[in-house]
Symmetry: none
Subunit: 256 residues, 2 copies
């Protein structure tokens, strides 16, 4: 499992408080998760957190990104986090933390997973969430949903290491046949490239209205993620969309 | 369970930092635990935590004691907490957090339980632990045992409410997510219409070679089925592809 956790990326989006960034890093270290990524942190907060006494090495190694897309590019599964009572307008599949963690653990065996946490005040925006395959909910009381960032990270990572056996069983009990080999999932980088190409093609086709372009882009991003493409299918889609884009004369420059 | 949690007393022993006391209170409120007791806190810290803006009502109602004995007097089960790697000299029965939480939940149905957390620096002393029936361990890494107090409280209380039946989704696990879809699946009719439209659009884009057209069509058919579209997404795809087909002048008649 330690090896599996090496595939996990904790992504803090727009964190504003150095204490919270430090607390998230500490929880990660407690539970053996090493890779922290921050997207658009409040600069001073990030610097203060990095220079804080006692901040672990993983904070010093934390990588900084300017967009969620870049921060999750090499991940095949991107999971958002939320709390009970928040975001009643959520447009994503929502899973209980324990169920979601099971799915994440399966994916971590073979590929990188990004776990996203939003800003202290607002959580993850719809635009940020549009990069997620689905969302996991910490079962807080509806009456008191707002949760401390460091505690949210601690609880989610605890659920991922929970029930870990000191000596992991090699063969799952009750399994009679060989494990079916699954094709690797597409990386978020490919999935986002596909999203952008589709957006370009649709723009060139007159499908996208300038006034609602941003909303359409988010809708497309969610639609493409729901396809849960494997790596081969993503390559095939990219090839098809490139051909359409070429035929339509669509390119990055004339995006809506 | 909420009723059961009313029997739980969270006891902070010799906490020194107002932020940590506040964080513990916040985690309690998040998970629906109302009764906080503090033993010999650093006085200033306790007053500051109590007067902190945003501190929940439960901090104002927190009771202060001069000894662990007094703080747990009315409880039938007293459980200490620790982290991995700490306290190798522990003279108590030690349970994993998930196992311990099960026992606590059983007891909470009928009687009061005290859950003890030690000071930030030293944890619970042997003397303080001597009031405990047994000790529960949070599964942190041995190399980094020391855990933030607020996070330790959050993780322990999460384990107590975990699996409570507020489940948003019951459907069994799929490939990367526990639930593939809540919406009805697309009909085969729509899926085939989508396949044909995609084939037309690709034909008009010059993607399909006449010599391999039949093979390409089959490949597309499989690709589209692997998307496991729900009914809404199929409608969206049909709309997008119709627009592309119109722009490209593709139609049934000029299919490859």
């Amino acid at each position: 499992m330690t090896g599996d956790l090496d595939n996990l990326r904790v992504v803090l989006v727009a964190a504003r408080n150095p204490l919270n960034i430090g607390a998230a890093a500490r929880a990660m270290s407690n539970f053996g998760v090493q890779h922290l990524r921050v997207v658009n942190p409040y600069e001073v907060a990030f610097r203060e957190a990095q220079s804080a006494v006692g901040a672990s090495g993983l904070l010093a190694k934390a990588k900084q990104y300017e967009s969620v897309a870049e921060a999750v590019e090499d991940c095949t599964l991107v999971v958002g986090t939320t709390v009970a009572g928040a975001r009643r307008d959520l447009q994503h599949r929502l899973h209980r933390l324990d169920e979601g963690a099971r799915a994440i653990k399966r994916q971590l065996k073979t590929a990188r997973v990004a776990l996203l946490f939003g800003s202290e005040r607002y959580g993850l925006s719809n635009r940020e969430l549009s990069h997620c395959h689905w969302v996991m909910r910490i079962p807080t009381r509806e009456e008191h949903g707002s949760m401390n960032l460091g505690q949210a990270v601690a609880v989610c990572l605890y659920e991922l290491v929970r029930g870990r056996k000191t000596a992991p069983a090699k063969t799952p009990p009750g399994r009679t046949g060989p494990v079916k080999k699954e094709t690797a999932s597409a990386t978020s980088g490919d999935v986002e490239r596909l999203t952008q190409l589709l957006f370009s093609v649709l723009g060139a086709s007159g499908y996208v209205h300038p006034r609602t372009a941003a909303g359409t882009e988010e809708k497309l991003r969610r639609l493409v993620r729901r396809m849960e493409l494997n790596a081969n299918d993503a390559v095939m889609w990219l090839g098809m969309l490139r051909q359409m884009a070429w035929k339509l004369g669509a390119n990055k420059e004339n995006d809506v």
